[in-house]
Symmetry: C2
Subunit: 240 residues, 2 copies
Amino acid sequence: MTPTAQDRSGSTLARLARLLADDTRATFCLALLGGRAWTASELARYAGVAPSTATEHLNRLIHGGLLVEARQGRHRYVQLASPDVAQLLEDLTSHLDPPARPGRSLRGATASAALARGRTCYDHLAGRLGVEITDAMTRAGLLQQRTGFALTEDGLAWLTGVLKVTEADLRDTRRPVARACLDWTERRPHLAGVAGARVCRHLMAERWVARIGSGRAVRVTPAGEAALSDLLGIDPAAIA
Amino acid sequence: MTPTAQDRSGSTLARLARLLADDTRATFCLALLGGRAWTASELARYAGVAPSTATEHLNRLIHGGLLVEARQGRHRYVQLASPDVAQLLEDLTSHLDPPARPGRSLRGATASAALARGRTCYDHLAGRLGVEITDAMTRAGLLQQRTGFALTEDGLAWLTGVLKVTEADLRDTRRPVARACLDWTERRPHLAGVAGARVCRHLMAERWVARIGSGRAVRVTPAGEAALSDLLGIDPAAIA
DNA sequence: CCGTCGGTTCGGCCGGCACCGAAGCGATGC
DNA sequence: GCATCGCTTCGGTGCCGGCCGAACCGACGG
């Protein structure tokens, strides 16, 4: 026990936690976890606070390094500062209490059902869709989760061959190639990291999955159902 | 944008963050991240608050599910509730600002130097020692970090053969066998998960590493230097 | 050029909460 | 038995920060 020599890290941890310790700011961050940039007033309306209140919160989040802004004309666009921040938020949400299934109103129920079915998690896919793709890749021997979480050699070849991802594109960033992201609704791991981002980008580019409205939710297109069934043997019913 | 249908998750995230959003509570949690159980007054003295204040904080942390208590006579021992909570704290600390090298007083400098050299991170090893072991295992082909983070087949055999860990002991828990834990001082990944815990337990049991005092810091014994050099080819100078 | 709109600044209000000291309580030890 | 010790409970205090509305500013559009 070192009475006086306690490292100053407790207070820096507290400072970080304080940024997320408010309902409104937490709501902002989770909305931004979808990966898109939002304007200040969009967020204000979404969270149900006055514009002036939203301004103060955004200032704190930006100053704290969680968000970055891009001003365009009279608009102030904000988004998560980096994949690092996105991972931080994923980590936190994966430790939250059970998702609380019900869903009160019909609107709420259908909206959260859509999120549970498929959504973006910053730059990769999550929800039942994300888990299903991960499981299919594991069954196909492209991914192994027995002694950790990593692509196999076949998986690496699949990414470069089938998805046309270059080796350099996978490698020269400081992020891990593949990591597990624990799904908040499914309580199961799904593929994140650079590989997860590339899979998501490819599926979006081919229009196999598309965003629903402006939120985080995504749906699989008819062409996507066929392609996923073809590429990974995913039963369309599993992701319907 | 769904004005009213925002999922209630923002407020549960905020509730979790609020538990860590206070200097004193954060200091408690980081102290407990060492893995040992502390009494209430130890923590109070360590954080520099009155016993009554510590009681209130502990109640909140326990009620919030981060800590569990064990009462023995007039003592109240607390520790982290689960490896899950430990991982949550690791995740958070790995996203903190740079460690701020200096270290003002001599006492503070030597104490934090000891922590940087080697420490426990709940149930596995961290600091330069943890990173060095991880790197050595990677060089020896026991671990691969190229396409993710996982033990190799050789690594699995090494654990069961050399470290006498049974397959069942590695498998039948819900935790991943191997995962990366980003080191706060080194900014590099080191081995966590069940495998990390077993390596740490084995090294402690053989008295190759030993705790320094009652905190998180550990040191390598002379026997440990020889064993690590022998088993993994680690240069004693690298972990001195 | 003036109206509108997105965003910001400022003042003021209010609730929550971190802290302490004093008093109380059960366990321990002499 | 009494003194001590670890912990808890309870009042009281003070501060921090989340919220709003009103006024303001700059960008845009007719």
